[in-house]
Symmetry: C2
Subunit: 458 residues, 2 copies
């Protein structure tokens, strides 16, 4: 499905634009300005002649040029007329931000049916209603003034606009940018699967995340997702698992949450990576971006001072990884490199010796990687010591080795946040907690196994 005019519009009308900084129509306009949208912007509001420095029009039909995307923020009962004007004008995509449709009961559902009728037979498509809309870092379309603006290769389809913002803020804090976000709302016209199909062909999207309350057309979803997932990892978080959660979904976007077991079966069948929380989602996306081909089972753990090694081992075994004994030659070489009281069994504890000689981290990781019985190494970062030097060392290490390594860094301080960003930019996976690392690794491993099977069938 070609949604290019929606994601890369040349002109946008903001219907309901307002100079009041707390009105949705003002926020929508400001979002475009702040994300440097470089197409034409047309505020629409009969009460103003100019808003935020842009000439303002009384209605969309009075705009002298053609419009690709319209963003509607006016009250519910006024929307149908406004939408009809957009259809007349030949607008390609209409984002309806306003709520009060199928999620708000029967009256709203009837209104929503009217919207669908209004675009029938036209080339106008609806995003929403009850949504936030579209974000694209490459074109500068945006739905929130504060959305981080780093370009990247991840796109996110969300049946919640707020989560789109949360997702973007979490990824950017880890050094990763975004390509696109869609807040799809009630999906009266364009649905999750339509956006998925568009992203399938989008060159700047390599990994796709999704927040799902309901898949509205499962058959098409299965077909498209099965086609997409071997090429672009698909990390999906399904919410509304429990009884009240399902009710909450209904009042949120008018969706029927459906049985959790069915979703599990569908996700498995299409090779999607299933996330159970926003934290999972972000962690698995990061793994998809940094270690997309991870297949191993045998993990070596290399740490400096302090019990992190034990908890990394616990977390790895909890998800099914093995912590194998190292071979004699590896242990001999580690023994040479480390003080006599260090532990050269797996997990390797280099002890406080690394505080004196930070290079031991990369030396020992290299030795361990040459052990044929080791598929990947998890490194416990040295806490608050020598943060910048350790980060430099890891970035250099990445160029020297061919097996994957993952860093666990369970500390919070501003320089460590900076280190997380730098490691992310260098595509080195780093996680706060051992369980984050272990769960991400096993999720990717299972995905790669699916992909391998899928390819062997072709």
């Amino acid at each position: 499905m070609n949604l290019n005019p929606i994601f890369y519009p040349e002109s946008i009308a903001v219907i309901g634009a307002s100079p009041n900084p707390n009105r949705p129509g003002n926020i929508a306009l400001k979002a475009l300005v702040e994300s440097n949208f470089n197409g034409r912007i047309y505020p629409v509001n009969p009460n103003y002649s100019e808003i935020l420095g842009f000439k303002c029009y009384p209605d969309v039909l009075s705009i002298p040029e053609s419009i690709d995307l319209a963003i509607i923020t006016i009250p519910t009962y006024m929307i149908l007329n406004s939408l009809k004007a957009c259809v007349l004008k030949g607008v390609k995509g209409v984002v309806i931000v306003t709520a009060g449709f199928s999620e708000a009961g029967e009256k709203g559902a009837a209104l929503e049916a009217e919207l669908v009728k209004a675009i029938n037979g036209s080339s106008t498509r609806i995003i929403g209603p009850n949504c936030m809309g579209i974000y694209c870092s490459y074109s500068g379309v945006s739905y929130a003034p504060d959305l981080p603006r780093i370009k990247g290769e991840t796109s996110f389809i969300s049946q919640s606009g707020g989560l789109g913002i949360a997702f973007a803020s979490l990824l950017s804090s880890r050094g990763y940018g975004l390509s696109k976000i869609v807040s799809s709302g009630n999906e009266c016209d364009l649905k999750f699967v339509d956006y998925l199909e568009y992203l399938e062909g989008d060159d700047t999207t390599c990994v796709i995340g999704g927040y799902i309350e309901q898949i509205r057309n499962p058959r098409k979803f299965i077909n498209v997702a099965r086609r997409v997932s071997p090429l672009k990892p698909l990390v999906l978080w399904k919410a509304g698992i429990h009884e009240s959660g399902r009710k909450a979904v209904y009042s949120h976007t008018g969706a029927l949450a459906g049985s959790d077991e069915i979703y599990n079966a569908v996700f498995k069948q299409v090779g999607a990576i299933r996330a159970y929380s926003l934290r999972n989602l972000v962690n698995y996306i990061i793994a998809s971006l940094t270690i997309p081909d991870f297949r191993g089972i045998n993990i070596a753990v290399v740490t400096g001072p302090g019990g992190v090694g034990v908890s990394i081992v616990d977390a790895c075994e909890a998800v099914g990884f093995r912590i194998p004994e190292l071979c004699m030659e590896t242990r001999r070489r580690l023994r040479e490199a480390l003080p006599w009281f260090a532990s050269v069994s797996n997990p390797i504890d280099m002890t406080l010796a690394v505080v004196e000689d930070i290079k031991l981290y990369s030396e020992c990781v290299k030795i361990v990687m040459e052990d044929g019985g080791v598929d990947a190494v998890i490194i416990g970062a040295p806490g608050l010591f020598r943060v910048g030097e350790f980060t430099d060392l890891m970035i250099r290490l990445k160029n020297d080795v061919w097996k994957p390594f993952i860093i666990v860094w369970s500390f919070m301080r501003s320089d460590i946040e900076e280190a997380f960003k730098r490691l992310g930019e260098a595509k080195i996976p780093v996680y706060f907690m051992p369980e984050d690392a272990a769960k991400s690794l096993i999720a990717i491993k299972k995905y790669v196994e699916y992909r391998d099977r899928f390819k062997s069938i072709l």
Copy 2:
């Protein structure tokens, strides 16, 4: 057990002090200087006459004054003599940082036995060996230069020094200070339970966290923990759960990890809150500090824009909370306060209306709290919008209500980190993820139920 001379020493000797910034003896000295220890500091090293501006002594016996605490960082084989000198000198506590004892095999275990023999019959106690030592925000004793230095009411006993630092950095990033940290190492003399007994009587400690690889004297531990836990919540993280994890524990601090089921039974019996990760540990400590009397089962969820409400409901139900329907009167009042398309069923979705009127957050929470069927409210924060105003509003709200409320704020940005700190300082629980909030609430609820039963027996 009175360990006051160890936590509040008037004089400290750093044996093995060094001017080389990467040596443990330099780090130990710098830690004391940077944490403003205001007692007397005596570096000991025969090769220098002065280090970091302090007069340096060739050995501990040549120091002209009495010494409360000695920190030993010299090589393993030199330690026994140095310890004997400390005993002669009448030093009260000796922190042995150096590794290479029982965790490093038979030879090391024999050396460790010698240490214990050396203090036999004396008033000298050993902390460690193979540990980092003591931190006390009130006296300025510290074992790492970068440890945050906010005073607080939480103390932490850790069989890993590195985790002590991680714990401190995480708590301080959330606005909470610390009273004391002990890195207890191999525990050849003073053991986990001895520190616990000391903290029982420590006025500046209200909540106690622990990282446990092995309880070395379970009978005494059960007695002391049972006495402490009804008065000071005890949040314990036991590591070394799986097979390799247990081996890792042995090579880390020479401990035998023991069966996980036994620990589970013991923790239950003594009323400890069990954590399964560092994240759990920090989250449960924060709940202990902010909602120490939480007993409820019925949760109302109040959110602004976006699917967070659904995932909060999912997380609450997953741990056993109920999301009850609100009574007619509550719904009527919410309907009056909110736009017609908002959802006034639990979870309450105030929609984008809160962007226009941020005060709706506190108004709706107050209305919901007056519903007799609601025990607590979880609030989904408004993402990146109006961060400071929302924080102010919540701090004011705390003074106006008597039921607990918890905030979920799944966003990362520097101003939100600042908000987390401010909310922490105001003792308002705020969590990144719905699952963090739900797990913390249920952990506290179970603890309070234990405490209630315990008190009813007395």
